[in-house]
Symmetry: D2
Subunit: 333 residues, 4 copies
């Protein structure tokens, strides 16, 4: 039985506690938070869990195997480092760290210590993302043309990060999981209307081949949109995450060049065939993810959403910030 | 009675003929097209209309007052110039011309000759765009924050222009009509998958003030999306042009800063109030536009969608091409 | 070349003229209407078509082969009878007649005279209805369980008929086409709010087997709904006719009884699988229908939407009226 | 502090426990269920709550003030009666009882004993239903014309009741709450495909005045629909409960008679104005309902969803069964 210490019991922490507790191979033994009200909520709901406001009660506790860091990003590095140094496996909320340097240091430390390090890219454990990955791997779409994501809503303003650091880790980790090719360069443009942090941003991602990716993130949208279009040579798909019943639709639609003799002889053929909405389960992704982490530790396997996956996302976030400061200029990764 | 000569009877020409003919102050007397089949269609449907494949039968005809140029953009300049030189009022399909230089020359020529020049920005005559303009002018939205447009579908590939020149004239003319401030700079990124012309592109438009604008145009989308979000300090609106019944929705939603003492004391307040979908008429925009052109000629008034409006759009299109060639670098207008 | 005389040039008449004219085997030679404005519209759009307000100029004209009766239902019998007596093939707008007696008489007359009689059940010529029929005939749905239709909108009030006679002929003819079994009985309930004719009604249709059918028709709905659910033992489909792109969806969903030993041991298994939206063409149904009528005459074949099909619909309409007058009591057909 | 004993810990019971526990004026002290697994779940989640399989441990317990009956409907009467006889206030799951006779007896008993009796019509505590009631009471809709509800999905088959007894208590209680007039008669038709209980049914409800109501309930629908249209003389509303963001829409649409001189002079005027979607809170209805019950007990007030409200619903359900057995014949209430 792996014993879990949870650091941070704000919005996401309760889900972490509930899901590790649901495992038959793990249970949460302690929760740390600076906010006494948060700890009160822990005690009311889980009388058996120890609560503390001192991080050392977690990272140095001999009866804890896994430390989960569910705090603001600026504190991830320090907390994860302390946990690793004390021999704990670490599960870190996304985004992994505030800088690539921090991410690299944590990866190296975990490796040296032989500990598992996993970044909470929850979306990778949803049925819909797994189904899309299968579809791409089975080459249903053919060569990929574009990846176009819109993630907008009236957003929870974050005090210490802009909209990119808040929303794009989802998209960057999903794209990283779905598209094998590594991005070459990135460009971001945005605007801060409410405070000094951008609340709306647009991101272009360039690859070496035919793919182009684009991300629209916005905290000031009156409606919630969660739409990803992935276009390929053979088929195209639309993932609409706010549609309760038909999240994923695969379209047998496309364009084929028939002849290219001259500009005015170009014959383009449109295919407009059936649509197919594969069934997508409603299992809780975080439940699967926490179980997977426990399994990785037990079997001594490296999780696919490890520190390296977290680092790749942080590298893109960092590059976005550089591009934002340079009028949207392309930044090589 | 103003006599109209129509040059070009492809996809859009029949609508031009039908709508000028529906006016009580105008009628179409001649149609010119290089394609004999097109002329056959004219003769079958309108036995009274003269047909010709010689442009001079239109631009030099003494019984023609208005020449409408409904041909590929590369021919606009030459045809419009010939018509103006022969003393005809000119109605040009969008985009106005292939270059700003051409546009400026035509504007000057029309002015010198005292002739009316109008660019067919049909969307400006739709009830929904007029209603949005009223809403903005009545300051319902408050200070504008962003203008975000998505115009994607499985597109009709154009042989001689990329997706920006095909789709963005709509958006640029609408934005130009709705937002008083003039854009400062533009950046565009895209990719050509099928032939050498970009079939997918993303455009950022920068202003001097708080507004940011973004345009997503794509000929390779399996689904047709026509969505424009306009966010303001007080309210926000969503215009979904593929929704038959509720194209326009105004949301009483927004964000307010309550106090700003320190980063961690920032109090952001979310308003999430009613939504309101003003009724939007289904009148045919082109019918109103052609009538307006006739009226401008009769009353000797300058149309608001004149050569200058057309030029502003061409200037943005030209800047997009420059940006595309420079890795999406910002181009000043 | 079959020569067509059109009686009635109101809302639907122009479509009839345009579609018969589009045939290479037919053309409209004369239009009759009591309204001089309507005839003016004919002359403006079709200078070659004769216009008249005297029905005899159509039914007795020696140069007319087909008479199309596109007038209010109360006049169908008399007009169709006159046309048949004068040796014309007859195409009648739905509903066929005001009574089954009239329908039977016309069928008999046409048979005696060896003339074709077709009722304009346009929906049967849409791609979507044909696709649904294929799906049912291929037994994709398995044994049929129910047919549930909603056809509501803010309706064009008819002066002389209630909402059932206005809207249900569509549904009754579609059900008659899709479901091989003949209905056994019908019951209808409704209410008249605006004048003496029911503006809202609900209709139950009973069969000898497991199927049950229900129709919701309403002229007082603020929104336009056109939804038909067809449930079967194996699969179920939803036809949403107001969805421009995905009208037809087939769901691999259902219920299976696993064991039935006792009430409390009943094991019901739910299947919730993929959804599939077959491509549906956008061809104009009326174009196909008019061509089909011309073909039936040329090849001397009986159209499937003949007088008998029209009669079956009228029989149901008549039964609805009887049920309405008897507190919704079931009326045997 | 009111002490609650919960009888039944199946699907709904856990919500009852959680919500009474969330009150500052009540807490759950004991749960009774025949299923030992259910009791195990109680003990795991609420170590402080007593569990029992003997109903007498609840109804006769001196430390219990409120008994909640969250069991199959066939057991409601017996359990509620035992609780009332032992001086407990009673909260009964919907539908209240299996027969009107049972309901009447329980009402009388509660009255005699001076105890509160409340039926769990949860929907009456949703923000959307409360908002609709306000809209109707403020006469926004004008005289009511119709109430049309569709509640269909791939349903949880109930062993002991048909689809009407399962789904219609929601609709009947909502209609009872929204429409002041009492229904006059009811008619129901349906079909049982899977076992001997109807899995699909259609219900007409008649009133003395202009209103007509209709309910479509179905356990065999591939899609989940929860749509209620309420049409009035002045405005109409659509409540779509599966729309997360815009559940309620009020349409300024309608029909007006302008003149009625003769049938063919009838001038009907259509109004097609704005639509307005009032903001609807997302508060948990059951939380409000349980608190309300506690308040009614403390203040000795009669809840509006009392036994009488429950009885009115049961009376309609009973009448539906009678109509089902008589070919859908109208049954007076």
């Amino acid at each position: 039985m792996l014993r879990v210490g949870v650091v941070g019991y704000g919005y996401w922490g309760p889900n972490i506690v509930r899901n590790f507790n649901a495992s038959e191979k793990a249970n949460v033994v302690a929760v740390c938070d600076k906010n006494e009200n948060a700890l009160g909520r822990v005690r009311r709901n889980y009388p058996g869990i120890r609560t503390t406001s001192d991080i050392n009660d977690i990272v140095r506790s001999p009866d804890i195997d896994i430390v989960t860091v569910i705090t603001p990003v600026s504190t991830h590095y320090e907390l994860a480092k302390a946990a690793l140094e004390n021999g704990k496996h670490v599960f870190v909320e996304k985004p992994f760290t505030s800088t690539t340097a921090e991410a690299e240091e944590l990866i190296e430390l975990a490796e040296k210590k032989g500990l598992k390090l996993m970044v909470d890219h929850t979306f990778l454990f949803t049925s819909v993302v797994k189904r899309i990955r299968e579809i791409i791997e089975e080459n249903v779409l053919g060569e990929l043309y574009y990846y176009d994501s819109t993630r907008v809503n009236l957003g929870l303003f974050q005090r210490d990060v802009n909209v990119i650091w808040d929303l794009s880790p989802h998209d960057f980790s999903i794209m990283d999981y779905l598209i094998k090719e590594r991005p070459l360069a990135i460009a971001a443009a945005g605007k801060a209307h409410i405070n000094s942090k951008e609340d709306i941003a647009y991101i272009m991602v360039y690859f070496n081949n035919n793919i182009i990716a684009h991300f629209n993130v916005n905290w000031l949208s009156p409606v919630k949109l969660r739409t990803t279009l992935i276009g390929g040579e053979k088929k195209m798909l639309v993932w609409n995450d706010v549609d309760a019943d038909e999240k994923l639709k695969v379209y047998d639609r496309g364009v084929e060049i028939k002849s290219k003799e001259g500009i005015y002889d170009l014959l383009v053929n449109y295919r407009s065939g059936d649509m197919w909405a594969p069934k997508v389960d409603q299992l809780e992704a975080l439940r699967l993810e926490t179980e997977y982490f426990v399994d990785c530790i037990e079997k001594d396997e490296t999780p696919f959403n490890d520190g390296q996956a977290g680092l790749r996302v942080v590298r893109m976030l960092e590059a976005c910030d550089r591009s934002l400061k340079n009028n949207g200029r392309m930044v090589y990764l």
